[in-house]
Symmetry: C2
Subunit: 375 residues, 2 copies
């Protein structure tokens, strides 16, 4: 299901192709996040026009609302949200550990209260797989325990052990299905190199369809985030896709691709758009700022996105100041285009053998006005 088309000679970057039951994904790939069965503000048609190849759905959020009964009766997630392309679903592990209250972690799984109405809920490895099956996921993730940052070594080791036992149960559950999605393992191990290696090797031995680096984007400094990737990647099979979960800024994407990562999801393009922040080649700009009030130019000259094609910075600023939804829509489309186009350019650079030059120039151009907290 994964063709390794090309290995860059100057870095660990790869050009690949993942085949899912709902279509082919060219890697490196950015995956827009559709937490609640919608990529915030965007329509499926707009996502197709932006050439999104695959989007994310979230088991936890859809489990608590609208619930599996509704999703089953309405034909699964693809039909529900009218997206016919591939969908990767997060298992809910990350959300259970970050969003919910009064949780009790047992070997069986996690008891928690819904963040919507406080209703008592349970998700364990098998439940997580059942949810993803009901959603009709094309790439499912194992249910993992996501330790906080920072984390003591003993706690990280115990957590990793449980994550590995849960990964085994997820794989066993999935192997029993007839029409099974691709299933990815998730490497945990916090900031400890030996734990990351042990996690990666144990998962590799279970032979997953792909491997994610998890437990990142939880408040750690950027250097720790890159180290988590560096400490996991060498122990993962070369002929399987690698996915860095929940990351990151544009230069971070470039740097992680250079470290052998193939897949990314990140809420920054959609979340920052709703604050009026737009990505450009030279870093982010906040369109609320007054110098943009009468600026007739697009967010970025030469940008091919629907916002830059028709609308000025001055108009976008007006919409955002007036709290008009069209403003959030247009900046979201621009930001998604920026991320999707960045990975498209990287794929082209890999094919042309110019990734090293692209990487150096892009990262240098991009002023590191850090876009997200802790990133």
């Amino acid at each position: 299901m994964f063709d390794l088309i090309l290995q860059d000679t100057g870095s660990r970057a790869r050009r690949g192709r993942i085949t899912t039951r709902r279509g082919v994904i060219e890697t490196p790939v950015f995956m827009p996040v559709g937490t609640q069965a919608t990529v915030k503000t965007a329509s499926p048609r707009e996502l197709r026009e932006l050439r999104a190849q695959i989007i994310l759905g979230n088991s936890y959020h859809l489990f608590v609302r609208p619930g599996l009964e509704v999703l089953r009766r309405l034909g699964g997630l693809h039909r529900f949200m009218a997206w016919n392309g591939p969908i990767l679903t997060d298992s809910g592990g990350f959300q259970v550990f970050s969003l919910t209250r009064l949780r009790k972690i047992t070997e069986e799984g996690v008891h928690f209260q819904s963040h919507i109405d406080g209703a008592p809920c349970f998700i364990g490895p098998e439940t997580a797989m059942e949810i993803q099956s009901a959603l009709g996921s094309d790439i499912a993730m194992v249910f993992d325990e996501c330790p906080p940052y920072p984390c003591e070594r003993d706690a990280a080791a115990a957590s990793l052990e449980r994550t590995l036992r849960w990964a085994r149960r997820c794989k066993d559950w999935n192997d029993r299905q007839e029409a099974r999605p691709l299933l990815f393992g998730i490497v945990q191990g916090s900031t400890f190199a030996d734990l990351r290696r042990a996690g990666a090797e144990a998962l590799a031995a279970m032979d997953f369809d792909g491997y994610a680096v998890g437990g990142v984007s939880v408040g750690e400094p950027e250097a720790e985030m890159l180290r988590a990737v560096e400490n996991s990647e060498p122990w993962l099979p070369a002929r399987k896709p690698r996915y860095a979960m929940g990351l990151g800024t544009p230069p971070q994407l470039v740097e992680m691709i250079a470290r052998g990562v193939d897949m990314f999801d990140c809420v920054l393009p959609t979340r920052l758009a709703r604050n009026g922040t737009a990505f450009t080649e030279r870093g982010t700009i906040n369109l609320k700022n007054s110098p943009f009030a009468a600026d007739p130019g697009p967010i970025e000259e030469g940008c091919a996105c629907p916002a830059c094609a028709e609308f000025s910075r001055g108009y976008l600023r007006h919409l955002i100041k007036a709290e008009e939804i069209l403003g959030l829509r247009l900046v979201t489309l621009h930001n998604l285009h920026f991320y999707l186009n960045l990975t498209a350019r990287i794929r082209a650079a890999l094919e042309a053998g110019t990734f090293g030059a692209f990487r150096a120039q892009f990262v240098a151009n991009y002023k590191a006005r850090e876009a997200g907290a802790g990133l």
Copy 2:
């Protein structure tokens, strides 16, 4: 500029065509409201695809934000919002009287405080025309005084007199311009038949390009609203377009068309959408209601709008409950389509000589679950 194509034989309804400097408008016509330089949640492309022929802009709102200086520097309202079709601009009269605080009305105009930041502002007849000129309006409205409901006769008469003097000043200002927009007079006179007649006749004598019935949709009962139209229309020139401002529910549109009105604007389709309310042939439905949770059908069977083409009531309910912007977008598109399609069907019925039957059937079908307060 107005071709009266056809006069219905069984009612006062007409089929017409208005020629503006930015294109032709087939009447009866519904005009989506773009108060702050955007029809709420919708893009210009979506409006074109819904076959909107003309949209509204609002002088008052654009005057206070982003202000005329920005609009001038960014090339006027059409270029600002990337809408190339005709725009009708309200003069600001209605908003000055309904939205602002601490106003002082003089013969010269109205002093008020901006509803955004309390800044002291002034709009008079000439200012209103200057604003509409800066916006690049294709159909401008005179600056009028809009009395509240109910209104004493003496106050209504005095207000009407001032509105007529202001109308004269607006027309004089406009007549001095080289590239002038079409200019419509506004009939006031509150609930008094003789004042409505006097207002209509006085405006007709000034020879405007079209005539609006104003001072409606200010809290009066539906019967009074229809009477305001009935008391104005007979005294307006047959060969000029008539516009009922800020109205109304779908059956009200049909009934006003039967009374000789050609043009409508109304915030109901966009405003109610943001509350999860959708228009159907049998009245409005609120998609938040739990029976829709697992409903696989579209808002309305057979509807050709983008929401009904791809999405179920169950999905729309989920989006609205989850406060996802895509839900507001899709219901807005459905509701705008409903209004635009209603007027398209009426134009076809007029041409086929079947408007009487259409009117009877539509109004009977439509369960009068009144959609807007006071309407």
